[in-house]
């Protein structure tokens, strides 16, 4: 019996002072946006917040931090993706994004409305804002989560994430600390269908912020299409030393274009000067988690695998049948990449229904079939 009492005590402390204020213990998503354009991950998280809030018996809410210009429009979108409440913090200092005023505004909202959980995209901005706020609030923050669930007993948020370059998965909890904060990788959760008829409450908050901030943005250069980000890409086509020279990467660009993906590279190709270091996948470059990773002319050094082994599907093309990349590839083609890659491009073109037809991965199917393949 004593055990039961203890559990109940934990439960009430984890869920916050539910009942004292109807908003206490809610599940918040911070909507990341550049002007009126929200990051896709924000809507992915909105669906997840809905699920977690239902498990907790609280409400899913969205937070829009900005100068007020696009806040109404973003709030409407947030409601259509499942937010029961939208908190709008509007102040000139909140746009464009800099960490200091954003974190002060978010911490102010937390102080006023006591959420149980805050979710942000594991993007450069999301990680920046989450770290600053968690430090100010002295609370727990788990980075780059790939799965979230409510413990049915303790009601704590169980946050699962890869660590040690993806060699290990860890489940993290923050007992006795509120809010429980997590950043979540883009593309992990499916995006829910927007419901234009959904209704929700909008709460406006005026943070007190200095007009002059310690950091200001002088320029913004949107990414050019040919150098689109590796982060969040569904498909990455990477080349290694087997590409032989810089100009051969145009072949990979063609394949990436057909697959709706972007081009990456191994360290070997970067060190040879064929590709910018910004394209480097691996331990000393970027860690990526696309649905499909195509490794072309990459032998598969362990440092490279550390950056891409969390892909749902790996396709390797290499003329050396003993290349270690084949040991972790779901599919492989042993052959001359200068014959195989053009053959793939031709095949994809043939399968598309004429001009303008799309190509897309069903992430849910990819995830499911990956689990089956691992069995």
């Amino acid at each position: 019996m004593a055990g039961t009492r203890n559990n109940k005590k934990k439960e009430s402390s984890a869920a916050g002072k539910a009942g004292a204020d109807s908003n206490t213990g809610d599940v918040w998503v911070v909507i990341e946006h550049e002007g009126d354009l929200a990051a896709r991950v924000s809507w992915e998280l909105m669906g997840e917040a809905r699920r977690l809030a239902a498990d907790l018996g609280t409400q899913p809410a969205a937070v829009v931090l900005g100068d007020g210009e696009n806040s109404g429009q973003l709030a409407e979108q947030a409601i259509s993706y499942g937010a029961a409440i939208v908190y709008i913090a509007a102040h000139a200092a909140l746009s464009p994004f800099t960490a200091e005023p954003q974190s002060r505004a978010l911490a102010g909202l937390v102080g006023k409305y006591s959420p149980g959980i805050i979710l942000l995209g594991a993007t450069t901005r999301g990680r920046d804002l989450a770290s600053a706020v968690a430090t100010d609030l002295e609370t727990g923050l788990t980075a780059d989560c790939t799965s979230l669930e409510i413990d049915p007993g303790t009601k704590l948020l169980r946050q699962t994430r890869p660590a040690f370059g993806g060699n290990i998965m860890a489940t993290i909890i923050s007992p006795g600390h509120l809010p429980q904060m997590a950043t979540v990788r883009p593309g992990v959760f499916p995006i829910a269908k927007a419901d234009a008829g959904a209704t929700g409450k909008v709460v406006t908050y005026r943070p007190r912020l200095a007009a002059v901030q310690p950091v200001r943005r002088l320029h913004y250069l949107p990414e050019l299409e040919d150098e689109a980000s590796l982060q969040g890409a569904d498909v990455i086509v990477s080349g290694g030393r087997g590409m032989h020279q810089a100009r051969n990467f145009s072949l990979l660009e063609d394949l990436a274009r057909e697959l709706g993906g972007v081009v990456g590279a191994s360290r070997g190709a970067v060190d040879a000067g064929w590709v910018s270091a910004r394209r480097q996948v691996g331990q000393t470059g970027q860690t990526v988690r696309p649905v499909l990773y195509v490794a072309v002319g990459i032998s598969g050094a362990i440092q490279h695998l550390a950056g891409m082994q969390q892909a749902d599907i790996v396709l390797a093309i290499n003329n050396d049948p003993t290349a270690p990349i084949f040991n972790i590839a779901d599919f492989g083609i042993v052959g001359d990449l200068f014959e195989v890659v053009p053959a793939l491009i031709t095949e994809i073109k043939k399968r598309k229904d004429g001009a303008g037809a799309g190509i897309v991965f069903d992430r849910v199917v990819a995830e499911q079939t990956r689990k089956e393949a691992a069995k």
Partner: protein, 276 residues
């Protein structure tokens, strides 16, 4: 015109070799070589470059077990002026919140002797992969926060401003930050130098100062596991990748192999054509 930078460096296990013991379900630590976190080398380079250009000093700071001294020895070899290691059982088991509490206390102490203009960290460590320490230090020290720097534009120490390009998912932005500032840098920010012979010789004579929790005057309840709100509840091995189906272009033809692979990709969720 001179700048004092504190560079935070971390000794990490070579993560490519970290595994879980299938019997006990615990982390196998034995026999795993330690390396300096590769992103921190870019932080060291950024600090040295600014010092070489504008004068000043670079202090390297690390927290870890006594053997983390090797990491600081290595950065002394690159020409870092001073090296401080926070080492005490009280620091053990720290998550990022408790880590920044200890590092911030040490940076305040360093700043008492020689005011700190910049704190520079790598964008993240390869073991924890969180990227939370740099921003946490900015908040604790009340410094301007600029992370994921892909290029340093200029430092105007007279005006007390630094300008840097920051990498975002959607593009790049040029930020201007007031000093003091806490920065994190990415691998494209610079090219790491080789240690020169004179620097290596000079480094051999330099001490690595070791500070305890008492030395930085930190409350023990805010340090290590005690000061960490997060707990690791469970660790487990990710689903293992296995060798899948490998086709030979020579056995059939590149076109036939390509067609087979496309069939498999469609089975695995690739949707094409009008259905997409």
């Amino acid at each position: 015109m001179s700048v004092h930078s504190v560079v935070c460096v971390k000794q990490v296990p070579d993560t490519t070799q970290v595994r879980i013991d299938p019997e006990t379900g615990s982390l196998i630590r034995q026999g795993i070589p330690s390396v300096i976190n590769p992103f921190d080398l870019h932080a060291v380079e950024a600090a040295l470059h600014l010092r070489d250009e504008q004068g000043g000093r670079v202090t390297a700071l690390s927290m870890g077990p006594p053997q983390a001294e090797e990491t600081l020895r290595k950065v002394l070899g690159f020409g870092v002026d001073r090296a401080v290691l926070l080492s005490d059982r009280a620091f053990a088991g720290a998550d990022t919140l408790a880590t920044t509490f200890a590092l911030a206390a040490a940076i305040r102490k360093i700043s008492e002797e020689d005011p700190v203009d910049l704190v520079i960290c790598g964008k993240q460590s390869i073991d924890g992969d969180t990227g939370q320490v740099g921003p946490g230090l900015a908040r604790r020290l009340g410094m301007s926060q600029v992370t994921y720097i892909c290029g340093l534009e200029d430092l105007d120490s007279e005006a007390g401003l630094i300008r840097a390009w920051r990498q975002l998912e959607s593009g790049r932005e040029l930020l201007e930050a007031k000093l003091p500032a806490a920065l994190t840098v990415t691998e494209v920010c610079n090219r790491i130098r080789y240690a020169s012979l004179p620097d290596l010789i000079a480094a051999a004579g330099k001490p690595v100062e070791v500070w305890s929790a008492g030395d930085i005057g930190a409350e023990r309840s805010r340090l290590g596991l005690k000061g960490s709100p997060t707990r690791v509840n469970k660790i487990f091995a990710p689903p293992a990748r296995k060798r899948g189906e490998i086709f030979s272009a020579a056995d059939s033809s590149p076109a036939a192999a390509a067609a087979t692979v496309m069939d498999r990709l469609q089975d695995r969720g690739l949707k094409m054509g009008r259905s997409a």
